[in-house]
Symmetry: C2
Amino acid sequence: MDADKVFKALGDPTRRKLLDLLCEQNGQTLGQLCENLEMARQSATQHIDLLEAANLVSTVRRGREKLHFINPVPLHDIYERWVRKFERQRLSLLHDLKQELEGEDR
Amino acid sequence: MDADKVFKALGDPTRRKLLDLLCEQNGQTLGQLCENLEMARQSATQHIDLLEAANLVSTVRRGREKLHFINPVPLHDIYERWVRKFERQRLSLLHDLKQELEGEDR
DNA sequence: CCAATACGCAGGTAAATACCTGCATGTCAA
DNA sequence: TTGACATGCAGGTATTTACCTGCGTATTGG
């Protein structure tokens, strides 16, 4: 998993909207997706290319159409590497901060 | 939670490294953090400003020092909104793709 | 066939980003 | 008090990003 590509891909509202659209209905064509975006088709294609590069979306060609499918695996990997790690220490981290703030009062 | 700020903050290797550094030892000063980064202190400050804007890091001034603490809450919010949602549909999403691929063979 | 449809490719521009240098301010310790 | 130290602030530049327009290619249905 390339965390950089995944986070950069998610760091744009248009691309997050694309994922939401595909979550509502998986396997949509480029044209269908563009109907819900207020930008040129070519611009949407560039966003989708980044989602594909991050492996968040897979595509299948059917004739002249290109179908898009979500791949949730990278999101799960993000969870394992970047959420659980900090979640586990959540209480102790807040504890550190609280102690520091209390230290100021003394 | 501002998902855009959080994802954009996470979409840079330097800022992810800063979070890792703070996870190893919470409450470090700017100077301590800079020792582990190969860039000017002023550049690191700009990265930290983005982490603060995303509420991923909180700071406390102690005299002439600035101490940095991780706040894991936004990460957990990301999990709730962007991981669990897709995780829940993981199997069905893959099912959609598989069906589409099999459809190609017929 | 051939016109409409769905998409790919090339390039160009404005804004955002990630760095830097130089200098100013505030704090501590001798 | 004053010099050393930790950080803040201002601005400038090169790269990346997010759009666009224009045109080319491939597929389908009548």
